[in-house]
């Protein structure tokens, strides 16, 4: 192996460490990274050969990297998708911004027990999902939208997800800030 590392190699290695990062849209995209345009910025994400996804692990019954409270993470992501993927006939990305209270309201409808505690857990989960590119969270404005990773979901995987979201109750009018 050569001691000289091409800049493209280091850029891809770096992208694996940093996860989803956005750069100004005018910046060149290093080859081998997926570019997801987002207005004035572009999200850079690692991409995989021949459209493969880590779901290939399921075929081989191999455990993926463990995730704390993965059920909760999935439910919070589902609640956010229910609110931000407004038109299910379209793609989930870029979706529409939804108020965080609306997402927490949908999540509360999926859980039992202490609603205030569930809300606190879910808020932490929203941040974690935003850190990893599944959601884009604007805490100052109190809104959340789908993340750039959803732009890379293969079309054929969207059908079951659409069916699930159609069956999920949406946020209450109060949570949406309607009178």
């Amino acid at each position: 192996m050569s001691d000289e590392w091409a800049p493209g190699i280091l850029a891809r290695a770096r992208a694996r460490v940093t996860g989803a990062v956005s750069v100004p849209a005018a910046e060149p995209v290093p080859p081998g990274l997926a570019a997801v345009p987002d207005g004035p910025r572009t999200w850079l994400l690692p991409s995989w050969p021949d459209g493969a996804t880590p779901a290939v692990l399921e075929q081989y019954e191999l455990a993926p990297m463990p995730l704390d409270r993965s059920g909760q993470a999935r439910r919070v992501l589902a609640a956010a998708l229910r609110c931000c993927w407004a038109n299910l006939d379209d793609a989930p990305w870029p979706g529409v911004p939804a108020p965080v209270p609306a997402v927490l309201d949908v999540y509360a409808g999926m859980t039992r027990g202490d609603a205030a505690l569930a809300g606190r857990w879910a808020t932490g989960e929203l941040r974690r999902l935003a850190d990893t590119g599944w959601l884009v969270l604007d805490e100052a404005r109190g809104v959340v939208r789908t993340g750039p990773r959803t732009a890379l979901w293969p079309h054929e995987a969207l059908g079951p997800l659409r069916d699930l979201l159609r069956r999920m109750p949406g946020p209450s009018r109060e949570a949406l800030g309607d009178e």
Partner: protein, 214 residues
């Protein structure tokens, strides 16, 4: 995108190509090393070289596990370049907490002979109490650091049960260390745990002579 891999994959028929991609995805994403018996592209040396070349496009390399199994990790030179990039390194609190976990779950059991020489995975958890006492971090910061380390796969929480005390052990990422990285980590731990020991002096002397030679 996929064009990146095309020059490497183009010579293969569809079946071989799918096997190469499956092996690549498995070593990159599974929590633990994957057995070569289940992946033709890891079993056959020629195909394995192609998997290694696919990994090298992102600065990665194949890492052989203990038992004819494989995972991937950063090539040593690339790891060094990334470690010099502030955006790619852990916050200092996380590194301190991780060091404590390694001292208690690996270095001490290794020094007493209960843990093998060349492994960074351990069945001996660092007790949460011990981390609270030794880390000198406010408990909130300690918890936040442990949460980030768990999310990154660098520590695994072991729940207390029966006679077992709970705590933290090194996480699945420690499968991904190359032989060179395991050696450097061992040296760093000696420098941290016994800076005045003869072993630490020998490590410093060797590093100085390597620097002068390069």
């Amino acid at each position: 995108m996929s064009e990146l891999f095309d020059p490497l994959l183009a010579p293969y028929d569809e079946r071989r190509r799918a096997e190469l991609v499956a092996a690549y995805m498995a070593v990159e994403h599974a929590a633990a090393p994957v057995p070569e018996v289940r992946f033709p592209a890891l079993r056959e040396p020629a195909l394995r070289r192609t998997v290694a070349a696919m990994l090298a496009l992102s600065g990665r390399t194949l890492v052989r596990g203990a038992d004819r199994d494989w995972t991937s990790g950063y090539h040593d030179d690339v790891a060094a370049a990334l470690a010099a990039d502030p955006a790619c390194v852990l916050p200092v609190e996380d590194r301190a907490v991780l060091t404590l976990v390694l001292v208690h779950s690996v270095a001490i059991p290794r020094a007493t002979g209960t843990l093998g020489e060349d492994t960074w995975l351990s069945p001996y958890p660092a007790a949460a109490d011990e981390l609270r006492r030794r880390s000198q971090l406010p408990v909130g910061e300690l918890e936040a650091a442990l949460r980030r380390l768990r999310t990154a796969g660098l520590v695994t929480q072991v729940k207390a049960g029966g006679d077992e005390a709970g705590g933290y052990v090194p996480g699945p990422q420690f499968h991904r260390l190359t032989p060179g990285a395991r050696r450097r980590l061992q040296e760093e731990l000696i420098l941290a745990a016994g800076p005045d020991s003869p072993l630490a002096a020998a490590i410093r002397a060797r590093r100085r002579s390597n620097e002068e030679a390069s």
